[in-house]
């Protein structure tokens, strides 16, 4: 791995550990402001939605934009439905990813039309 790649992991780790210890450093004496608490409660869900859109837009195996949209949306729908009803993260991720990989590799088509 290149130095830049290893440094990227180091930076990421340092930020995560800093965030986890931050409350013990700054809020051990004074109370956090209401705005901070409010953002702490709400930013997370918004940031995760942002990452959903972003990560879907960067998945490989798709050509330029309109190509592959159906594969992406159907695999995402599979994940949503599985997670909503079965609440088993591993099942949702593995089945959803398998559905997506099989579609972009054209396996469905081969199975149907041989």
């Amino acid at each position: 791995m290149s130095r830049h790649q290893i440094l990227a992991f180091v930076v990421m780790t340092v930020v995560v550990l800093a965030l986890r210890s931050l409350p013990f450093v700054i809020f051990s004496k004074r109370k956090p402001s209401p705005l901070f608490l409010y953002l702490g409660r709400t930013v997370s869900a918004a940031a995760i939605s942002m990452l959903v859109v972003y990560s879907i837009s960067t998945v490989s195996g798709v050509g330029a934009f309109p190509v592959g949209v159906i594969e992406l949306l159907s695999a995402s729908a599979v994940v949503v439905i599985l997670q909503y009803f079965w609440k088993n993260p591993l099942l949702s991720i593995v089945v959803g990813t398998a559905v997506y990989m099989l579609s972009v590799q054209g396996v469905w088509g081969k199975l149907l039309f041989f």
């Binding site: 990227a8 990421m12 965030l19 709400t42 195996g61 591993l90 991720i93």
Partner: protein
């Protein structure tokens, strides 16, 4: 007595054992199939120090295309993805003050979503708490490391076509989002995030194709701005 604390902590952590072993393995496989130079040993070190599934999954994409991301951008992404950890420490601040410094720092740095949830439900009111909290954090960390090393090793030996395996990162975020939306308070922020990011993505796609990886900054800025602007409405539902 001592042993029963350890045992109770272990039994309480069994669901996390299943979750972390398998999720860790999924991450390990993603890491070594996407970045073939990465070794299982390296996966173990990253998992031992970071212990954050959402961050580690996102990191694979960023590190794979490292040329597109400066270290500053990676730091900001890490900040946004994990900002929720800031709030996790709050209930434990007074309690951890009484603990020796090394234990305080370890517990703070090992605080993941699952560990936090288990620690909040600690059955010991006073004596035994310290040991129980430590055991939970330590067991969970071990599961995560083990899972990712197993996955990374398996990923080294996978030779079938892995095109599309990076969808697993999107799937992980979808799973987290579905679970968060079970709590009504999270629905408006989640919807805001989806709409704003899709709009920003569309704008970049039409006007600045080739810079789509830079869209997260404006998207996040707009999201925080609109969260603050809609604070009264959203807080009414908290």
């Amino acid at each position: 007595m001592q042993q029963s604390i350890v045992r109770r902590a272990f039994i309480a952590s069994l669901p996390v054992l299943m979750g972390y072993l398998s999720m860790g393995a999924a991450w390990g496989i993603l890491l070594t199939t996407q970045i073939p130079q990465a070794e299982p040993f390296f996966a173990g070190i990253v998992s031992a120090t970071t212990i954050s599934s959402s961050m580690q999954f996102a990191a694979v994409e960023m590190v794979k295309n490292a040329a597109n991301y400066s270290l500053g951008m990676i730091a900001v992404f890490a900040l946004l993805i994990n900002v929720r950890y800031c709030a996790y420490g709050l209930p434990f601040i007074e309690e951890f003050k009484r603990y020796p410094w090394y234990l305080r720092w370890y517990l703070a740095c090992a605080l993941t979503d699952e560990t936090y949830a288990l620690q909040l439900q600690c059955p010991y009111p006073d004596a035994g708490r310290k040991k129980y909290l430590f055991c939970i954090a330590f067991f969970d960390q071990c599961y995560w490391i083990t899972g990712s090393v197993i996955g990374a090793t398996a990923g080294k030996h996978i030779h079938f076509d892995t095109t599309g395996i990076d969808f697993s990162m999107a799937a992980l975020f979808i799973v987290i989002l579905v679970d968060q939306c079970r709590d009504k308070a999270n629905r408006i922020p989640a919807l805001l995030g989806l709409v704003i990011t899709a709009a920003v993505w569309g704008t970049f796609y039409l006007l600045l194709p080739g810079h789509v990886n830079k869209m997260l900054f404006p998207a996040m800025a707009l999201i925080i701005f609109s969260l603050i602007a809609m604070r009264n409405k959203i807080e009414a539902r908290l």
